[in-house]
C-alpha cells in the first residue's frame, strides 16, 4: 500500500512539470517582484535581544536589507512594517526604524497590524501601492520583540494619574490622591488571547486539535519534523535570508537559536501547556515567543530590471479570509488556500513549494485534516469537494515557525522568502504561502519564481 502510494506520488511529481499555467502574469497589470529579503536571526525571547527595543531589531533587518541589495536609499518610495504587540513609544515602528537605519527622511513609513499576518499585510499593502502606480519601490517588513511587552498600570491607576495631572491646587491634588487604593497598583498584562472570546490561542489550538482528533503523538511527530528539517537547513546553510546582527554590548548573533530537535520520548514527557491535565498542546509542539525582524525589497518589475537587479520572485495573487474566532480561529490556511488557487487559476498540483505558518503542530495538522475532508468542505466552506492535502515532501522543507521561531509581526516575510529561496534551490515555479492569525483571520499568497 505505502509502496503504491509512493509510486503515485513519484508519478505526480513528474506530472508537475506541466503546469496549468506557464506564468501568472496578467495583461495590463504591473508585475511585482521581490528583489531580495532578509531577516535577523530569530531568537527565543529573553535571550540576546532582550535589552533592545523593537525598532532596534527592525533597524537591524533594514540595514541588513540595504547591505544585501545595495539599493540606493533615495530610490525607496515607501516603507511598511508589521507588528503586533506595539511598543507605545514607537507605535509607528516603521518610521523610527527607517530613520535610524539611514533611509531618507523624505521616505514615508507606516506600520500595519493584523496579528500573525502583519508582515503579510505589509507586503500586500506594498503590492497594492505598486500595482496602482503610486510607488515603484517599497520596503516591507515586520518586527516583534516579545522580550519586552507593555505592562500597564491598571485603568484605575491611570485615571488617577491623569486626574492628578489636571488637578491645579494642592487641595485638588490631595483629594485625587485620597482616592488611591492599593489594588490600583495591580498591573495589566497583555495576553495572547482573543479579545472577543477571552480564550488564549493555545487553548483554542488544543480544542481545534481535539475537534479534528489530532493525537498528541501526531503533534509531537510533526514538531520533531519541523525542528529536524530546520536543523538540516541551518546546517546546510539554506537559511540564506538570515543576516548577522551585532547586538550592542553582546556578541554578533548569526543564527536562529530556537531550533532544538529532541526525541519523541523527551517530548512525550511534557505536560500540556493550556488544557490541563488532559490537553495535547505542549511547549514542545507549539511555536515559542520570539524576537526578530524581517525586511524585503519589493519593486515593479521594470524598475528592478532598469536598476539592474535580478529579482528572486514575483508576488502574485493573494487572499485574505476570516472566520469564527472561537472554534475556527486557526483554520485560515484551509479557507484561504482553495480561494487563492482558484483566483490564480492553479491547482494544488501546480504548487512546488508550500510554506505554511506553523503556530502549533495541532493547528497545522487540523488544517491538513480539514483540507482533506469533503465533509468539512461541504458543511463549512461552501465547496463541493475538498481541496486535498499538500504533499508533505513539498511542505515547509526548511523548517517552520515551530522550530525557526515566530516573531508575530515578522513571520510573513520569512514565509515568502523561504518560498522564493526554495523555488530557486529546488527548481520549482510556484510557491504557496499561507498563515492563520488571531481574530480568526487568514492569508494566502502565490509566489512565482523569477525565471533564471
Amino acid at each position: 500500500m505505502t509502496l503504491v502510494s509512493g509510486w503515485l506520488l513519484y508519478g505526480w511529481s513528474i506530472a508537475v512539470q506541466t503546469k496549468t499555467k506557464k506564468t501568472l502574469a496578467k495583461p495590463n497589470i504591473r508585475n511585482i517582484v521581490v528583489v531580495d529579503g532578509v531577516r535577523t536571526p530569530f531568537l527565543l525571547s529573553g535571550t540576546s535581544y532582550k535589552d533592545l527595543m523593537p525598532h532596534d531589531v527592525a533597524r537591524a533587518a533594514l540595514t541588513g536589507l540595504l547591505h544585501r541589495t545595495s539599493v540606493p536609499k533615495e530610490v525607496v518610495d515607501y516603507i511598511i512594517f508589521g507588528t503586533v504587540i506595539q511598543e507605545v513609544k514607537t507605535s509607528n515602528v516603521a518610521r523610527e526604524a527607517a530613520l535610524g537605519a539611514g533611509f531618507s527622511d523624505k521616505t514615508p513609513a507606516h506600520t500595519v497590524t493584523m496579528a500573525c499576518i502583519s508582515a503579510n499585510q505589509a507586503m500586500t499593502t506594498g503590492v497594492g501601492l505598486i500595482a496602482s502606480g503610486q510607488c515603484d519601490v517599497v520596503v516591507a517588513g515586520g518586527v516583534e520583540l516579545m522580550s519586552d511587552i507593555p505592562i500597564r498600570h491598571s485603568r484605575k491607576m491611570r485615571k488617577l494619574m491623569l486626574d492628578l495631572n489636571k488637578a491645579k491646587s494642592v487641595g485638588q491634588r490631595l483629594s485625587v490622591i485620597s482616592k488611591f487604593r492599593l489594588n490600583f497598583l495591580a498591573p495589566e498584562l497583555p495576553a495572547v488571547a482573543e479579545f472577543s472570546t477571552s480564550e488564549t490561542m493555545g487553548h483554542s489550538a488544543d480544542r481545534l486539535a481535539a475537534a479534528f482528533a489530532v493525537s498528541r503523538l501526531e503533534q509531537d511527530e510533526y514538531a520533531l519534523r519541523s525542528h529536524s528539517l530546520a536543523k538540516k537547513a541551518q546546517d546546510e546553510g539554506l537559511l540564506s535570508d538570515v543576516v548577522p546582527f551585532k547586538v550592542p554590548g553582546k556578541d554578533t548573533v548569526t543564527k536562529d537559536n530556537g531550533i532544538r530537535p529532541s526525541s519523541l520520548e523527551q517530548m512525550a514527557k511534557l505536560k500540556p501547556a493550556f488544557i490541563r491535565p488532559y490537553g495535547t498542546v505542549t511547549a514542545a509542539n507549539s511555536s515559542f515567543l520570539t524576537d526578530g525582524a524581517s525586511a524585503m525589497l519589493i519593486m515593479a518589475e521594470e524598475k528592478a530590471l532598469a536598476m539592474g537587479y535580478k529579482p528572486k520572485a514575483y508576488l502574485r495573487d493573494f487572499m485574505y479570509v476570516s472566520q469564527d474566532p472561537k472554534d475556527q480561529l486557526l483554520l485560515g490556511p484551509t479557507y484561504a488556500t482553495p480561494k487563492v488557487l482558484e483566483k490564480a487559476g492553479l491547482t494544488m498540483n501546480d504548487i512546488d513549494a508550500f510554506e505554511f505558518h506553523e503556530a502549533f503542530s495541532g493547528q497545522i495538522l487540523a488544517n491538513f485534516k480539514a483540507m482533506d475532508s469533503d465533509w468539512f468542505a461541504q458543511n463549512y466552506m461552501g465547496r463541493k469537494t475538498k481541496i486535498g492535502l499538500p504533499p508533505l515532501e513539498k511542505f515547509n522543507n526548511w523548517g517552520g515557525s515551530l522550530s525557526l521561531g515566530h516573531p508575530f509581526g515578522a513571520t510573513g516575510c520569512r514565509l515568502v522568502m523561504a518560498a522564493a529561496n526554495r523555488l530557486r534551490k529546488e527548481g520549482g515555479q510556484y510557491g504557496l504561502v499561507a498563515a492563520c492569525a488571531a481574530g480568526g483571520q487568514g492569508h494566502a499568497m502565490i509566489v512565482e519564481a523569477y525565471p533564471k
Binding site: A210, A211, A213, A370
Partner: protein, 759 residues
C-alpha cells in the same frame, strides 16, 4: 400598562425566588412514556474501561424511571462481575443532557407516602452501591447533573453556559430523594449543600468545579470532521476514559485540594456547637422566607441533620420517609401542577407562523418598551426602538445597556457578547426601517387616542404581513383595533415589569385576530423566554381583571382601619410575595386609580368595595407610591425599613368605615382578598376569557404573585375545596353584597364535589 409594570416588581423580592427559579425546572424534570424493552442503556468495553451509554428511546431526555433504573442495575452488576473491566464511564448519548432528574409522573402515580418511600429506597440502594463501587465510575455531565452523577467517583462536565448542576427538587416541594441529602454535604460541605438544596439554584460548571461538585471541565469543541456536538461527545468519552484508567491505576486521586476557606469551614463543622448554630441559623432563615408555607425546606434541613448527627443509615431512612411525606403534600401537588402548567405555556398551540419574526420594532422607550427590547435583542432579534424624544430614547437605550451590563458583572455574558447583542438595537425618533418590520409592539402611554394615532401612523409605513401588537394592561384590544385597516393583524401582548425578570406574557386575541397573527405573537414571546397565556379580549383581560376586585377589597380593609403594615403581614403570611398595601405603592397609586375607574365602569357594582375616593385623594396629594417617594409608606434611597406615611392618617380617617366584626378576623381578611381574586379568576374561565385553568394558574402565579404554594386560583379551588370557598364567599356576600357573589362555575363545582379543574 403601568399597572402591571409595577406588579412585576414582585419579582424583586427574595421570598419570590422560588417562583423566579421555576423556569429551570422545566429542563430538570421531564415526563417520559413507559418503555418495556431494555433499550435505555447499553455499554461497550474499550480496553479495560466500560463505556455505559444512556439513551432512552423516543424521548429528548433521559429520565430516571423504573425501566432505566432496573436496566442500570443489570448493567452495573455485569460490570462489577467482569474480570476484564477495571473502570467505567457513564455518558448520555443525548447531546446536552445527562439524566434529567426523576420522572415526576412516576411520583404522581403513587397513592401513599409508603409507595414513594419505596421508590426512594430503591434508588438509594443503587446509588449507594454505585458510590461504594470498587471499580471507579466517571460520569460525564453535559447539561444537567443530578444525584446519579454525585454517586460516581469522578465527574467531568462540559464547560459552557448550558451546563448547570443543581438539586431543583425543593422547587417542586420535595427533596433529593436518592441519597442526595446525605452525599452533598460530604461533597461540598454543609453550608454549600444547604444552599443548593434549599434554593434549588442552578450552579454553572465553573462554579461547580470550584465547589468540588465536578472534578474536571471540558470545553465544547467546534467543527472538525463531523458535527461539533457529535465530536464533543466522542471527545468527552476519550477524556473520561483516560481519567477512568488513571483512577483504576491509582495515578489520579479523586480527592481534590480544598482551599483554605473550605478547610476552615470543614473544620468548624466538626464542632457540634458550630453545627447546631448552623442548623439554627439556616432554619431561622428558611422560616422567615417561607413563613412556614413550604414544608420541603424544613424537612431537608431535618434530613441533613439526621444524617450528620445520627449516621448515614438514619439519614437515608429519614430521607426516604420525608421524601414520601413531601410527595403527598398539597404544596408539592401545587408546585408540580405549576410545573406542568409551565410546560404547557411554553408551547405554541397555534403552530409555526407563516413568517418568522426577524425584525421587531418597538414604539415607546419607557420601562416597558426598553424592557421588551432587552429581552428581544439578546435572542438575536433585530430591534428598532422608537421614541418621541431623544431624552426618552436615551433613557430606554441606557436601560437596555444596563440590563446587559449587569449580566456581564454576574459573568453571565462577556463584555464582547454584550456589545454585539447591543448592536442588535437601533434607537431612533422616526419610522425609518419600519418597512422591514415583521412585528411592531407599541408600548406608548396608556391612552386610547394616543394608541389610535400611533396605530394609524405605523400602518402607513409597515409592510402588509407585519403584526401590530399592543402592550397594554387594561385597554381592550378590540377598541384599539377599531381604527386599524387590518384588524386581523392586531393583537395584545401584555408584558409584566420588569420585563427581563417577569416570566409571564399575556397575549390577548380579539374576535378578528387571525390565527397566524397569534402564532407570530406566541413565537416571539417564546423566543423572548416568556411563559405565555393566551386570553380573549375584554376589560382587564385576565390578569388585571383578577387583581382589580382584590385591590378594591384592599381599600375597604384599609378604610376599616387595618394598619397597612398589618395588612402587608397578613397577605405575605398567606403566601403572597408582596404585601397588599406595598403592592399598591409599587403599582403606583395613580395607575391603580386609573384601572379601578376603568374596570369599575365596565363591571359596575361587582367591582365595588372600597371607596376609590381614597386613591383619588392620594393622587391629589401626590402620594403616588414608590415612584413619588410617598404612598402608604415613605420611600427613601438607601433606607431599607420603610416607615408608614403619617400624612395618610388624615385621609384614612376621613374615609373610615366601621369594620364588620363577623368578617374581620385575620383569617377573614386574608380570605376576603383571596376569594375575591379566585372568584374573578373562575369567572374568567366561565366567560371564556381563559381557555384553560392551567393558563389561569400560570397567569396568576407568574404575573400577579398568587401564592405558588397554592398552585394558582384553580389549583387552590381543587385542593382547598370549592364548597368551602363558596361558603366563605357567601358569608362575605351576606356582609358586603354582590362583590362576593360566587360565580356560577364555582357554584357548580361546589355542588358536585367530583368536579375538579384538574382531573
Amino acid at each position: 400598562m403601568v399597572a402591571c409594570r409595577a406588579i412585576g416588581i414582585l419579582g424583586r423580592f427574595s421570598a419570590f425566588r422560588i417562583l423566579r427559579s421555576r423556569g429551570y425546572i422545566c429542563r430538570n424534570f421531564t415526563e417520559s412514556s413507559a418503555l418495556l424493552t431494555r433499550t435505555h442503556i447499553n455499554y461497550g468495553v474499550k480496553g479495560d474501561v466500560a463505556v455505559i451509554r444512556i439513551n432512552s428511546p423516543n424521548s429528548k431526555v433521559n429520565t430516571l424511571n423504573k425501566e432505566l433504573h432496573s436496566e442500570f442495575i443489570e448493567v452495573m452488576n455485569e460490570i462489577w462481575a467482569s474480570d476484564q473491566i477495571r473502570s467505567a464511564v457513564l455518558i448520555s448519548s443525548k447531546p446536552g443532557c445527562f439524566i434529567a432528574g426523576a420522572d415526576i409522573n412516576m411520583l404522581a402515580a403513587c397513592k401513599t407516602p409508603q409507595e414513594v418511600t419505596q421508590i426512594s429506597q430503591e434508588a438509594q440502594r443503587t446509588f449507594e452501591k454505585l458510590e461504594k463501587s470498587t471499580k471507579p465510575v466517571v460520569a460525564i455531565l453535559q447539561s444537567h447533573g443530578d444525584t446519579l452523577a454525585v454517586s460516581c467517583q469522578y465527574r467531568i462536565a462540559t464547560k459552557d453556559r448550558k451546563t448547570v448542576l443543581g438539586t431543583p427538587e425543593v422547587l417542586l416541594g420535595i427533596l433529593p430523594g436518592a441519597g442526595g441529602t446525605q452525599r452533598l454535604p460530604k461533597m461540598v460541605g454543609v453550608p454549600a449543600a444547604f444552599d443548593m438544596m434549599l434554593t434549588g439554584r442552578n450552579i454553572r460548571a465553573d462554579r461547580a468545579k470550584k465547589m468540588g461538585l465536578v472534578d474536571q471541565l471540558v470545553e465544547p469543541l467546534g467543527p472538525g470532521l463531523k458535527p461539533p456536538e457529535e465530536r464533543t461527545i466522542e471527545y468527552l468519552e476519550e477524556v473520561a476514559i483516560t481519567f477512568a484508567k488513571g483512577l483504576a491505576d491509582k495515578k489520579i486521586s479523586p480527592k481534590r485540594d480544598k482551599g483554605l476557606v473550605e478547610k476552615l469551614t470543614a473544620y468548624a463543622m466538626t464542632i457540634p456547637f458550630v453545627r447546631q448554630q448552623v442548623y439554627k441559623k439556616v432554619e431561622e432563615k428558611v422560616r422567615k422566607q417561607t413563613k412556614g408555607l413550604y414544608p420541603a425546606p424544613l424537612k431537608i434541613i431535618d434530613v441533613v441533620k439526621t444524617g450528620i448527627e445520627q449516621g448515614s443509615d438514619a439519614g437515608y431512612l429519614s430521607e426516604s420517609q420525608k421524601f414520601g411525606e413531601l410527595a403527598m403534600t398539597k404544596e408539592s401537588k401545587a408546585l408540580m401542577g405549576l410545573y406542568h402548567g409551565q410546560v404547557l405555556c411554553k408551547k405554541n398551540k397555534f403552530g409555526a407562523p407563516q413568517k418568522d419574526v426577524k425584525h421587531l420594532a418597538i414604539l415607546g422607550a419607557g420601562l416597558m418598551g426598553a424592557g421588551i427590547a432587552q429581552v428581544s435583542v439578546d435572542k438575536g432579534l433585530k430591534t428598532l426602538l422608537k421614541d418621541a424624544t431623544l431624552t426618552g430614547l436615551g433613557r430606554g437605550q441606557q436601560q437596555v445597556f444596563k440590563g446587559l451590563n449587569d449580566k456581564v458583572k454576574k459573568k453571565a455574558l462577556t463584555s464582547f457578547e454584550r456589545d454585539s447583542i447591543f448592536s442588535n438595537l437601533t434607537g431612533q425618533l422616526d419610522y425609518q426601517g419600519f418597512e422591514k418590520a415583521d412585528m411592531v409592539i407599541e408600548a406608548v402611554f396608556e391612552d386610547l387616542s394616543l394608541k389610535h394615532r400611533v396605530l394609524k401612523e405605523v400602518e402607513a409605513v409597515i409592510p402588509d404581513h407585519c403584526v401590530f401588537a399592543s402592550n397594554t394592561s387594561a385597554l381592550p384590544i378590540s377598541e384599539i383595533a377599531a381604527v386599524s385597516k387590518r384588524p386581523e393583524k392586531v393583537i395584545g401582548m401584555h408584558y409584566f415589569s420588569p420585563v427581563d425578570k417577569m416570566q409571564l406574557l399575556e397575549i390577548i386575541t380579539t374576535e378578528k385576530t387571525s390565527k397566524d397573527t397569534s402564532a407570530s405573537a406566541v413565537a416571539v414571546g417564546l423566543k423572548q423566554g416568556k411563559v405565555i397565556i393566551v386570553v380573549k379580549d375584554g376589560p382587564g383581560f385576565y390578569t388585571t381583571r383578577c387583581l382589580a376586585p382584590m385591590m378594591s377589597e384592599v381599600i375597604r380593609i384599609l378604610q376599616e382601619g387595618v394598619d397597612p403594615k398589618k395588612l402587608d403581614s397578613l397577605t405575605t403570611s398567606f403566601g403572597f410575595p408582596v404585601g397588599a398595601a406595598t403592592l399598591v405603592d409599587e403599582v403606583g397609586v395613580d395607575v391603580a386609580k386609573h384601572v379601578a375607574e376603568d374596570l369599575g365602569k365596565a363591571f359596575g357594582e361587582r367591582f365595588g368595595g372600597g371607596n376609590p375616593e381614597l386613591l383619588t385623594q392620594m393622587v391629589s396629594k401626590g402620594f403616588l407610591g414608590r415612584k413619588s417617594g410617598k404612598g402608604f409608606y415613605i420611600y427613601q434611597e438607601g433606607v431599607k425599613n420603610k416607615n408608614l406615611n403619617s400624612d395618610m392618617d388624615s385621609i384614612l380617617a376621613s374615609l373610615k368605615i366601621p369594620p364588620k366584626s363577623e368578617v374581620s378576623s385575620d383569617e377573614d381578611i386574608q380570605f376576603r382578598l383571596v376569594t375575591s381574586f379566585v372568584n374573578e379568576a373562575v369567572m374568567c374561565l366561565q366567560e371564556g376569557i381563559l381557555a384553560t385553568p392551567a393558563e389561569g394558574d400560570i397567569g396568576a402565579v407568574f404575573g400577579l404573585g398568587f401564592p405558588p404554594c397554592l398552585g394558582g386560583p384553580f389549583c387552590f379551588v381543587d385542593l382547598y375545596g370549592a364548597q368551602k370557598l363558596v361558603d366563605r364567599l357567601k358569608k362575605y356576600e351576606a356582609a358586603y353584597g354582590k362583590q362576593f357573589t360566587p360565580c356560577q362555575l364555582l357554584a357548580d363545582h361546589a355542588n358536585s364535589p367530583n368536579k375538579k379543574f384538574y382531573q
